[in-house]
Symmetry: C2
Subunit: 132 residues, 2 copies
């Protein structure tokens, strides 16, 4: 048995503990839901259900499973905090922030063009230095 399993041969993983089942050495949850993080599993189970999480884990490559679990945990936490929008709320906020910054950048670039036209030839090199 590999040493990576030594942690949970005695203590079941958070998923098996929650689901009150025996945690075996081939448990699909054990590497990603250590017993000391019970909330992580409780959250994803509450939002996605253990069976859907297990399906997703089996669908992705082993080296991507940790990222998959962490993104599921992030989504679940966001949905528990905001049952209406979940992490889609964060997407809307970020999209508005991008639009705001793009518009500010456009205005600032328009200012630069005005300065460049005031300074004439001298500024072409300054302006061209970063853009060209």
């Amino acid at each position: 048995m590999s040493s990576s399993y030594s942690n949970y041969t005695n203590s079941p993983c958070a998923a098996c503990k929650f689901l009150r089942r025996k945690c075996t050495s081939d448990c699909v949850f054990a590497p990603y839901f250590p017993p000391e993080e019970p909330k992580k599993f409780a959250n994803v189970h509450r939002i996605f259900g253990a069976s859907n999480v297990s399906k997703i884990l089996q669908e992705v490559e082993p080296h991507q499973r940790e990222d998959a679990v962490n993104s599921l945990a992030y989504e679940a936490e966001a949905r528990l905090r905001d049952p209406v929008y979940g992490c889609v709320g964060a997407i809307s906020v970020l999209q508005r922030q991008v639009l705001g910054l793009q518009s500010e950048l456009e205005e600032t670039n328009a200012d630069i063009m005005r300065y460049a036209s005031c300074l004439g030839g001298e500024t072409t090199s300054v302006y061209g230095a970063r853009r060209g």
Copy 2:
């Protein structure tokens, strides 16, 4: 019976059709999963499970349920497209975009300061006009 139910007294909603159950006038899914959009329910059921979707719907105010369903449908579609990151992938992309735009804006503002110092007093009014 209200006219809003007339659509699905004869035709069950997409959820009840999928789950092969009778669609009643108090069906929690019917207002948000019309029979002509079968994929919308199939997606959220596959990722969250009908029972979790129903729990979330009952947890939020009736006037917020449409937004809740649409955000769940968005998350489910993103997770089916990208099982590893789901819509958290979009959050990472947007966060990087915000950082990139903020840094570009800082550089552009630094350019403006250089132009302003070249133009001296004349530019103070141009610069001051937008920044206050």
